[in-house]
């Protein structure tokens, strides 16, 4: 005989109590991206018709390199969270779902790493 209360049994284990984190992180990164994409739009206008040297000088400048690295990290993070929801909603094949989930995460982290390394290379003039 089970000692579990019938109501508790009907409810199962309950929620994992962490679902709100994803929702919150998606919005927090979106708010940050308002600022960072504004900087991106500003730099698109600044670099309109610019040649290689001007583009290099622009992103090598420390404040711009800081904005760009934050943009890359936040953008790939926000993309990773968004892709996760799309995969969960539309990919119903159990293996493919995990494969796409892994690829989206791996791709996002690789993108962040690559972006930061190239920005450091530019900012440090290596």
């Amino acid at each position: 005989m089970s000692m579990t209360n019938p109501l508790a049994k009907a409810r199962g284990m309950g929620s994992a109590k962490e679902g709100v984190h994803h929702w919150y992180a998606q919005r927090a990164s979106a708010l940050l991206l308002i600022v960072l994409v504004s900087w991106l739009i500003y730099s698109m206008f600044r670099l309109s018709g610019a040649d290689y040297e001007a583009a290099r000088a622009f992103v090598s400048q420390p404040v711009n390199a800081a904005f760009a690295s934050l943009l890359i990290v936040t953008l790939f993070y926000h993309a990773m969270l968004g892709l996760q929801v799309v995969i969960e909603d539309y990919v119903h094949h159990p293996v493919l779902e995990v494969v796409f989930y892994f690829l989206s995460r791996a791709g996002a982290f690789f993108g962040m790493a690559l972006g930061i390394i190239y920005l450091l290379k530019l900012a440090l003039g290596a």
Partner: protein
């Protein structure tokens, strides 16, 4: 545990509902988000890598992006960025519990649509 096949409410896009601005913009928000994740963000990364790699890499990137396919990808990325950013603001306002009535939701929807087209034209003017 066996589950009964219970009736589900039909998906918002399909033969059951008349197309609505709100539902079409909702799915467009997702589609533009996926495009930006898979094409747009890597494109930005490619630009950074090209700048970091030297004049040769920068030139070859520019010649790729100057071709018809590259131009198409740039136009699509710019539109997706404009739409997703402005519609994202609309979603953030909704998340505070405001502007949820149908009239305001439609008004903001049209504003986002017109705004994203205008922003796209401005950005493409700077880029192309």
């Amino acid at each position: 545990m066996t589950q009964k096949q219970r009736p589900l409410s039909p998906f918002m896009i399909g033969p059951y509902y008349k197309p609505q601005l709100t539902s079409l913009m909702s799915i467009t928000h997702r589609a533009t988000g996926v495009f930006l994740s898979v094409i747009g963000a890597p494109l930005l990364l490619w630009w950074l890598i090209a700048v970091g790699s030297g004049p040769g890499a920068y030139e070859s990137m520019q010649s790729y992006l100057g071709g018809w396919l590259g131009t198409l990808v740039v136009i699509a990325s710019v539109f997706c960025l404009s739409f997703h950013c402005l519609n994202g603001l609309r979603h953030l306002v909704w998340d505070t519990g405001r502007a949820l009535d149908i009239k305001t939701a439609y008004a903001l929807g049209w504003a986002v649509l017109v705004g994203s087209l205008l922003l796209s034209v401005l950005l493409l003017g700077a880029l192309l």
